[in-house]
Symmetry: C2
Subunit: 139 residues, 2 copies
DNA sequence: AACTATAGTTTGCTTTACCAACTAGATCAA
DNA sequence: TTGATCTAGTTGGTAAAGCAAACTATAGTT
């Protein structure tokens, strides 16, 4: 989207594509889709219902079923019936899934490193601060 | 990918997902895929061969054929035989494609705005500067 | 002219993701 | 309690994304 009058927006979009390229590459190296990678990341500190997962991802419930199915078949995720609601299931990482998530996170960090390699220590700190856990925006 | 020791990396990944969410939404509102949106953006100031486009996107040639086909069928792109190489085609925006690209760029800018709404003018300038047209990294 | 390399296309496959229809368990009302 | 309704998740059907492999046609090379 070149004729972007706002250089910041332009930079954000460009950087987003760069980051996604890294994530895509790392995911592929583990033979997992970007979305599945993201699921693994989300589940590291959560054990949500399928519908909650759908909300996190902004996807339709029906998209989640197959996504989780495939990951379960691969031994990365497991389903657990919800205690409080007989209709619901909760999704959680298996040991293998947790290993993959950890390893992939490291690779993503390494892959992103070059994108900010030209920044000084203090510039990085500034960047991290400006991007801080979004005070108002949705997470 | 929570247990990311580097808060900057974490912020970049999170922001990338936020940006992609906006792009996805805008693309959907035009009934176009994220990849097609990206193609429209790329073609705004270029008229590449299919193979060059494949390189830009990091996709296989075979993925490009169908992608371009569908966009041509929608009247967003056109193929033009390359003068210098009888095997090659060049891809370019139609007027409709250019309109869509322009309009979408505006929507993306508007959608991203909230992500940086909490920043002061000077903080934005800093951010834009730190993200500047990556001096070393690949574009 | 014959080989080889390159540009694109086509076919077949899996995954993604949607929608709509469905099942089963929850919830609310009478 | 029974019935109406809502919600969680699954299933089936569809279009697109993207890869790999086989193929066509043009370039380039020897």
């Amino acid at each position: 989207m070149p004729p972007d009058p706002d250089p910041l927006v332009d930079a954000l979009v460009r950087t987003a594509y760069d980051v996604m390229r890294v994530v895509t590459r790392v995911a592929a190296s583990h033979d997992v889709s970007v979305t599945q990678m993201r699921v693994l990341g989300i589940l590291r500190d959560r054990e949500p219902r399928l519908s909650e997962l759908a909300d996190y991802l902004g996807l339709d419930k029906s998209s989640i079923s197959g996504l989780v199915d495939r990951a379960v078949r691969r031994g990365l995720l497991a389903r657990r019936p919800d205690q409080e609601d007989g209709r619901a299931s909760r999704v959680l990482l298996t040991a293998a899934g947790r290993d993959l998530a950890r390893s992939a996170a490291g690779q993503v960090a390494d892959g992103i490193e070059p994108l900010v390699a030209h920044l000084t220590r203090s510039e990085r700190a500034t960047l991290a601060r400006l991007f801080a856990p979004d005070p108002t925006a949705a997470g």
